[in-house]
Amino acid sequence: MRLPRFDCFDPRTVEEACARLDAHAHEAKICAGGTDLLVRLKQRLDAPRALVNLGAVNALRDIQFDAETGLRIGALTTLRAIADSPPVRAHYPMLAQAARAAASPQIRNQATLGGNLCLEKRCWFFNQSQSWRQARAACLRAGGAQCWAIQSADVCHALVVADTVPALIALRAQVVITSSRGARTLPLDQLYAGLGNATTRLAPNEILTEIRVPAPLPNSHGVYLRYSTRPAIDFALVQVAALLIREEPDGVCREARLVVGALAPTPVEAQQAAAILNGQRFTHDVVAAAADAAVKEVKIVPHIFLEPAAKRRLARAFLAEALQQVMRDT
C-alpha cells in the first residue's frame, strides 16, 4: 500500500513551521508522529499536496514540572515519554494511564501528545480504505449528503476517541496554539468543534505547540479507564476519566469531575453526576447513583457492533469501577 505523492518540509523552529503553513495554506497538513496521518493518507482520506513535518522542531519535545505552576508538555512529546515521565506518574497518574492505554508500544514510541489531541474524529463508515468506501454513497465527512452512523442525521457523527483527551479535560488542561500571528491559549475542552466534519477549532495554519496542566490539587486523585475489545492496539469503545478532590480529614467529596469519552462526538463532562458526588461521603449507593446519572447525560452515537444500550451499560460499569478505584487508591 503506497502513500500518495506529496512534498515534504522539515522546519526546525515553530516560526519556520508557521511560515510553511502560511505559504501552503489549505494544501498542507501537519505531520507530527505520523501514526495517524500516514494511515489516513494510505486510505486516501486526505490528499495534501505537502506535509509540514514537525519532527525536527526539537523545542517542542520536553516535559517540565513545577509544583506551583504545574506541568508543561511540548506538543511533540511522545506518548511513551509521557507514560514514563516521573513527574507525570507522580502527580498526574491518570494522564500516564491514558498515555499508556493508547495503541501499542511501537506506536507510543512515535505518537505525539499534540497528534493525539488533534487526532481526527473517527467513524466506522469513514476510516476505511478508498475501495471500501466506494461500496456506499459518500458520507457527509467525505463530502456526501448522508451520515451512515445515524442515517437520519444531517451532520457528521464521527467521534473523538483519542485517549489522552478525557484525562486532560478532567485535569483542566489548556493548550497553546501558535500561528505566524502569535499564540493563544484555550481550555482543552474548547478545542473540539463538536458535531460536524471538523475535529478541532484550529485554523489550517495553526499549530498546537504546548499542553499546560494546572498544579495538582491537594487531596485530589484521578483514574482513567477504558473498555476495548483487547487491552492493546484497539481504540477505546468507552473511556472514563474520574477525578475527585476530597476534604480532609472526613473524606467528603469537594469536587468531582467525570468525563466520558468515545460515546458522543466529543467527550462529555457529566455535570449532574458530579453534583450527586459533591458534598458526599462515598458509599456504593452514591457511586451507583453517580454512574447512572452520568450515562444519562450522554447522547450515545450507535456503534457498528454495540447498540447504544450496550455502550451505556459498559460506560456505567466502567464509571462505577473508576470511582471505586479512586476510593480505594486514596
Binding site: 500500500m1 503506497r2 502513500l3 500518495p4 505523492r5 506529496f6 512534498d7 515534504c8 522539515d10 505531520c31 505520523g34 501514526t35 500516514l38 494511515v39 494510505k42 486510505q43 513535518n53 519532527g55 511513551r80 495503541a103 501499542s104 508500544p105 511501537q106 506506536i107 514510541n109 512515535q110 466506522w124 476505511q128 480504505s129 475501495s131 471500501w132 466506494q134 461500496a135 456506499r136 473498555y227 475489545t229 483487547r230 487491552p231 492493546a232 492496539i233 484497539d234 481504540f235 457498528i304 457492533f305 454495540l306 447498540e307 450496550a310 455502550k311 451499560r313 459498559l314 460499569a317 466502567f318 462505577a320 469501577e321
Partner: protein, 975 residues
Amino acid sequence: MKEWIRLRVNGSDHDLIVESHWTLLDVLRENLGLTGTKRGCDTGECGACTVLVDGLPRNACLVLARSAQGCAITTIEGLARGGELHPLQLAFQERGAVQCGYCTPGVILTAKALLDHNPAPTEDDVKAAIAGNLCRCTGYVKITEAILAAAEKMNHDGASIVRCKATDRASSIVARQQVKDALSQRRAINEHAVVGQSLPRLDGLLKVTGQAQYVGDVRLPGMHVGKILRSPHAHARLVKVDISRAEKLPGVKAIMTGRDVANVRYAFVDTPRYSADEHPLAVDKVRYIGDEIAAVAAVDEETAEEALSLIDVEYEILPAVFDPEKAMQPNAPVIHDADYEGASVWEEWGAQRTPTSTARYGYNNISGQTTVEIGDVARGFALADHIRTDRFETQVTAHGALEPHCAVAHYEPSGKLNVWLSSMSVFYKRYILAKALGLATSQVHVHSVYVGGAFGGKIDVFPYEFCAAYLSRQTGQPVKIELTREEVFVTTRQRHPMIIELKTGVKRDGAIVAQKVKLIADNGAYRGTGPVVIFLAHAFNVPIYRVPNFKYTGYSVYTNNPIRGPQRAHGAPQIRFAMDSQLDLIARDLGLDPVKVMLRNAREKGDVLPNGDVLESCGLKECITRAVETSGWREKRGRAQTGRLRRGVGISACSMFSGAPFYPFASAAAVQLHDDGAITLFTGTMEMGQGAETTMAQIAAEELGIELADVRVIFGDTELAPIDLGNFLSGGALVTGKAVQLAAADAKQQLFKVVSEMLEVPPEKLTARGRRIFAGDPKIGMSFGEAVRASILRNGGNPVMGRGYYKPLPDTDQYPSLARAKGRFTPAYGYAAQVAEVEVDTLTGEVRLVQVTTFHDCGFPLNPLIVEGQIDGNVSMGQGQALCEDVILREGQVFNPSFLTYALPVSLTQPRAARGEVASLEPKGPFGAKEVGEGSIAGMLAAIANAVHDAVGVRLTSLPIAAEKILLAQNARAG
C-alpha cells in the same frame, strides 16, 4: 518528489534516492533488499515491520524513510553482529518460539529493546512489551518463555553475544548441535533417539535471522506489479467494463477482464454433483463486495493503482441476500442462476460434470446438502428420559495469518510457468492452475518458499494467483500480486458461520439415545468448501460420542457475503461448540457432572464408526480424565461465589482426521544418501509454521539411525520433490510422515544388504543407530558414511536413494460421499479434551481466560516442542474465536478488514497453558503419530462457554462471548 537521503542501517550509511512518500519499510525491503523486515498490514497494526529507531521499536510502515535520516536503524539482519547470533535469536530457535517465522523478526527486535532497557524483566513486562506484535502461531507462550530465558542467559553470561556464526551453514549446524546438546538433558525416556525429542527446528535459524524467504521476498529482474479491481457491489450485473482509458496510462503493461477468461472455470469442490462455479474474473455478474473484475500489470504499484481507477465499470444493481435462512426462501434472489455444465478439471481422473441444479433441494440457493441417518431417531427419542432442543450460532472468523497472500509468476518463453505461492499444497495448486491456464501439469513449476502461516486460508487457488500467471504470459515479464491486508480479510475465505439446531435425547444417566441436527452453513457468494464443511461438521463430530439413533441434515447456502473456505479444523469448532454446550446444559438439567456424561458417551479404541472407519487408536477418555485431573476441575467446578470477579471451569472434547484421500491420492518421498553420511530428504510437504520440515527430517533420521543435523530437506517444490497431498485435513504427520519413513527404510534396506555381506550377518540382525550400522554391539560394524561409500563401490557406482509413498486408506479407491457421508474418511483420528478456566468480571462483563488445560492424543509426539506449539496456537485461536474475534458484516460489507479492528488475541491476554500428551500409538502412523495441528481449537469454544456458565450462570449460545452480551444477560436475569 525525489531526493537524496542518507540512512544509517545496521551500522552502515546508505545514500539513496527516494520519493518523499516512501516509507522506511518500502525502502528497507525494496531499495536495500533487507526483507527480514516483514509487511503484515502496512498500517501500523501488527508489528511485523518492527525495526529499532535509535533503540526504540517502531513500525517501519508508518515511518517516512526521509524522516529516519540521522537515526540509527536496526533491522533483524543487523542483530547477528559479525555473524554472531544474539541470545534472543538463539533462545527463540531453541525454545520453539518460532513457527511460521513471519512475526519473528519484529518480536525479536521488540524484545531486544526491552532487554536493553530492562535486563531483568518479569513475565508481565515481557507481555506488555510485545503487546504490539501479533503472532498467530504460538499464542505467545513460547515467545514469552524464550525472552525470559534469553534475559536470564544474558545476565548469567554477562555477555550479550554467544559464539555462533549465523551465516555459514556448517557452523549453523554446530549451533544446532549445541542447542540440541543442551536439550538432550530434557529428553524424555524414549526408545527412539531422534523422534519423540524436543529438537529445535531446522528452519529456526533462517527465521530468527530474517533470511527465510517468503513469496513477498521474491524479487526477479523486470518484475511488474499486479493489482486487482474488485466489485463495490454485493450483487450486480456487469453492463460494461471499459479499459480503454486505463490502457493508455504510461507504465501499464497489460490488463485483463472477465471476457478474456470467460471459459475458465474451477473450484475447490468440482464433483459430479457439484460442478465448479468460479471464474478467475467475473464474467456477467458480481456476487459479493470484493468479487474480482479486472487485473492490471504495471511498472510499479502506484501506476497499477492509478490504472484501476481508470477502468470504467457500469453495473446494474441486483437485489442481494445476506442471511442464509432468508436466502433459502422461495422468493429470495437467486445468486447462481445458470446451471454450470462442461468438462470438469477432474475428467482425466474419471469425474464427469453434471449440471448443478438447486431445484432438487426444495430450498433456494442451496450449494450443498449432507444427510446422514443412523438407527431410528423417532424410536430413540421415545426411549429418552430427557430431551433438549437448542439453537446455536457461530460467527464469521478470519485466519489471520501474518503473511498476506502473495503470488509471483514468471512465464518463460519456452512455455514453462514458474510460480511462487502462499500455499498449503503445491501439487494441488499446480494442478488447478495448469488446468485453468490450459497448460500441461508438468509445465507449471511451483517453487519452494516458506509460508507465513496458513490455517486453511491458503489452500484454494485464488483469482490473484491465476491473474499473476496470466499477466506474466501476456507481458513476458515476471508479475507479482501481493494482497493488501484488507483484501486478505475480504477475499481469501473466512470461516463458515453456522446455525445449528440441536435436539438431543438422553437417559437419566446421561447416555445419549437420540440426536437430531439441522445445520446451515453460509458459504457466501461461491460454493467454496460449503459442501465439504457440512460433511466435515458431521465427520469430525461422529468420532466423539456414541449416538445410536442419529439424524443429521446439513445445508450449505449461497448468499452475497464473502466466500467461506477451510479454516483450522474446518467445521469442527462450530459443531463441537453446539454439542458440548448442550451436553453441559443436559448435565445441569439432570444434576450430573458433565465429565461423567462425556465419559458415559465417549468412544473407545476398537469402535467402528457408521462409515466403517475403525478407531485403531483412541485416547479420548484418557484425554478427558487427565485434563480433568490436571486442571483441578473438581475443586474449581461449581464454586459458590459472591465477589465481583467469579471463576468457572468448563470442558469440551474434539477430534480430527489424519489425512484423507484426495488428489494427488498419495504422498511420496525420496532420500538421497551422501557419501559423507548426510542425507537429503525430498518431500512435497509445505513448511507453513507447523514444523513439517523438522518432523519429516526427524522421521528420516530416526529410521536411518543418524542425527537430525545430518538431514537437509528439499520441500514444497513441484520439480524438486515428489508428489504430496499437501497440508490439509492434517495429513502431514501420518501420510507424508509414513512416506518419509518408508523412503528412509528403503534406503536403509539397501545399506543393510551391503553391510550384511561385509559383516557376514543376516540383515535382520543389523541396527542403524548413532550414525552407525552394527550387529548387536555398536563397535562391530561401520559408520553410516562408510556404509554409504561401501554401497556405492560395491554396486557399480549406484548412489543410494530410497523412495516411499503412502496413500491414506490404501484399500479404498472411493472418495467419501459428501452428500451421504458414506465411504471411509481417514486412516486415524486425533483427539483432544480441553478444560478452560475463566474469570468473569460481573461489573464490566469482561471474561479473562485464566488457564487452559489441553490433553491431546496425537498418537505419538514426533517432536514434543512442536506439538506443544501447535496446541498453543490452537488454544490461542480458539480463545479468539470464543471471546473476541468476529468479522463484522453489514449488507455483505466487512467492517473490520484490518488487524486494528479484527481482534486477534494479543500477548496480554495469553492464558496459562497446561498441556499434555496421551500417546495412543496409532498403528498406521510413523512411530505411532497422527494429527496434532488442527483439532484442539475445536474444544475451546464450548469449554469457555461452559466455564462462563459455571462462573456466573449466564449461558451464551452465540459467539463471540463479548462483555456486552454478558452484561445484557446479567441484566435480564436480574430482571
